[in-house]
């Protein structure tokens, strides 16, 4: 489609630059959510891995001199609380925000979205198609992946706070304790909590790469959009 357009343009509008419209896609709460979440997620993955495989201290001979592993765990718990409540704010914004923030985006199962899904797989994943559809918000493949991350969020929150509840006198983590008997003890809970860590590691790699990829290939300001909120859409001619 675009190649045809380019062909006609080269004869009819030779010499005119392409025109782009600026669209405010990511509102402030979405951007704030994204960056708070990014910091927390990296913090949680890093400290979480360390909790599973701690680095042994060699500088002190006696326990009272240090609180290194305790601090690692503290950072993990701190990030976890911020991450959890940040996520709640995002859920709220899924109902209060603009069309690109809406919760409906994350269930991409309409006929049009399913068509787009195939298109995105062909264009962006397999790269057998030169040009595909360019959605302004999330495309449907991204939406489905985000839905998976939300499920992983929920799993990590429930299992994480359930594990935390035995060392907390506060009522809040105890809201999640029901998962322990349900999963047959804390060994299983900890195992699942640890396994899902790797889902997030894989997600971070793919997410960061694809953000750069879209900017690199489409030139619509994908990377800067999560800072300033604007994306660019080519004017229909």
């Amino acid at each position: 489609m675009k190649s045809q357009m380019a062909a006609t343009q080269s004869t009819a509008h030779a010499g005119h630059p392409a025109e782009y419209r600026r669209v405010y896609v990511w509102e402030f709460p979405v951007r704030a959510y994204h960056w708070i979440n990014a910091v927390c997620m990296v913090g949680l993955c890093g400290t979480g891995y360390l909790i599973g495989a701690p680095i042994r201290v060699t500088t002190a001979p006696e326990a009272w001199q240090l609180y290194w592993f305790g601090s690692v765990r503290f950072v993990h718990f701190l990030c976890a609380f911020v991450y959890f409540f940040n996520f709640l704010v995002r859920i709220y914004w899924g109902f209060a925000g603009n069309q690109y923030a809406s919760w409906k985006n994350f269930f991409p199962f309409t006929a049009a979205q399913r068509k787009e899904f195939v298109d995105v797989i062909k264009t962006d994943v397999l790269q057998v198609k030169l040009h595909g559809s360019l959605s302004l918000g999330h495309n449907s493949v991204a939406s489905l992946v985000y839905l998976m991350t939300f499920v992983a969020f929920a799993v990590q929150s429930i299992t994480g706070f359930a594990l935390y509840s035995s060392m907390s006198a506060s009522w809040f983590p105890h809201l999640f304790h029901w998962i322990v008997p349900l999963m047959g003890g804390e060994m299983n809970v900890r195992y699942v909590h640890h396994l899902v860590l790797w889902f997030f590691v894989a997600f971070i790699i793919v997410h960061v790469y694809l953000s750069f990829y879209h900017d690199y290939l489409e030139g619509r300001g994908t990377i800067s959009s999560i800072v300033g909120g604007w994306k660019f859409e080519r004017e229909k001619q």
Partner: protein
């Protein structure tokens, strides 16, 4: 083994104990039941009048380590509890009777004390192949359990076998070993551990006898008094964990210094038990104090969460030594490789796009 209708005080008198001995015993029992000083009077009046509760102790698929542990209780001493407080009417391991005589003791106790007797169960019950893997007197463990538990005042599931299946329920669980709470309708007190701590067993029995009610249980049916904290929470090596001082192998300098055993597989952080408080053998020691990590023997399915010497369980299908981290790292590497390949393809495609649309993207000259 004693007249079931006689009161505890009556039975002690007939054995020649003085009132002073009796009061001392009541004080110990009150302490074990968690009543404290104020509760002693209550216990004395209960034991003055209360008939000795008849008890049947069933042995199914087990190794008798629970009985062995129980015999080593130090407070109150076993003889006191077994012979003076309880009326132990049936137990395969200790009873003098055998054959039909023994079975008669069991049926008599059940029929004459409906709703009053206590059932202690050691071992899991196999369900596969109609339960043929554990038969006593020609009957399956399952049918015996149903008969015995039906009119019981309470059922105590001794040890991990009765509480959650333990080793015989480990994958692939060939005999279909099933924990007691899944088979009976009456309330079950789970006292897991392989074996449970002797003094914990004694305290649970004492609580039941003294107060005549089931102790407060957590969501896995375990008495909160003993199973509400992790071994880790009260471990004397905990400070080393928080500091980051870990044993890396059992023969290193750190092991000698008594650092935390987390990195050599200690399951203390996921195990609920009273080992680090009550300890074993009259409070002498417990596994971690002896230099070996906790294997989590009181947690459900601990046999399938091995190996014992790494903290994370191995990941099925990727070899014995592989953990979630091995698999996770592989997933991460594959992702990186995929991303790198994709980036190469992207640059090829970008060249095509640039050559194709460059005319209309150029500014006016």
């Amino acid at each position: 083994m004693g007249n079931a209708s006689q009161s505890i005080w009556g039975s002690m008198q007939s054995k020649g104990y003085s009132r002073r001995d009796f009061l001392q015993f009541c004080a110990v029992a009150a302490t074990m039941a968690g009543l404290g000083r104020e509760g002693v009077g209550e216990v004395v009046s209960a034991f003055d009048r209360k008939a000795k509760p008849p008890v049947v102790w069933m042995h199914f698929q087990e190794c008798t380590c629970c009985s062995e542990s129980f015999l080593r209780a130090s407070h109150p001493i076993v003889a006191d509890v077994l012979l003076d407080v309880l009326s132990l009417n049936y137990t395969e391991t200790l009873q003098a009777a055998s054959g039909f005589q023994a079975e008669k003791c069991l049926t008599d106790t059940i029929q004459n004390n409906k709703g009053k007797y206590i059932v202690l169960v050691e071992g899991a019950v196999p369900l596969h192949d109609d339960g043929v893997y554990c038969m006593i007197g020609g009957r399956t463990a399952e049918s015996i359990l149903h008969e015995v538990a039906k009119d019981a005042a309470a059922v105590i599931a001794w040890g991990s076998c009765a509480s959650n299946g333990c080793v015989q329920a480990a994958k692939p669980n060939p005999t279909g070993a099933t924990p007691i709470q899944k088979l009976v309708d009456v309330p079950v007190i789970n006292v897991p551990g392989c074996p449970p701590i002797a003094d914990v067993m004694m305290a649970v029995v004492t609580h039941l006898v003294v107060l005549g009610q089931i102790p407060s249980l957590d969501d896995q049916g375990r008495p909160k008094e003993f199973y509400s904290r992790r071994v880790h929470d009260t471990c004397y090596r905990r400070a080393n964990y928080d500091a980051g001082l870990f044993v890396e192998s059992f023969d290193d300098e750190n092991a000698r210094k008594g650092y935390c055993l987390y990195k050599v597989g200690c399951k203390g952080p996921v195990t609920y038990n009273a080992c680090s408080v009550v300890k074993w053998n009259e409070g002498t020691s417990y596994p971690i104090q002896s230099g070996h990590g906790c294997i989590g023997c009181s947690e459900a399915g601990f046999w399938d969460k091995g190996p014992f010497y790494q903290h994370l369980p191995s990941f099925p299908g990727f070899g014995i030594e592989s953990t979630a981290d091995t698999v996770g790292a592989a997933v991460g590497l594959v992702t990186l490789a995929g991303v790198a390949a994709h980036a190469v393809m992207t640059n090829v495609r970008k060249k095509k796009i640039i050559s194709e649309v460059h005319e209309d993207d150029q500014p006016e000259v």
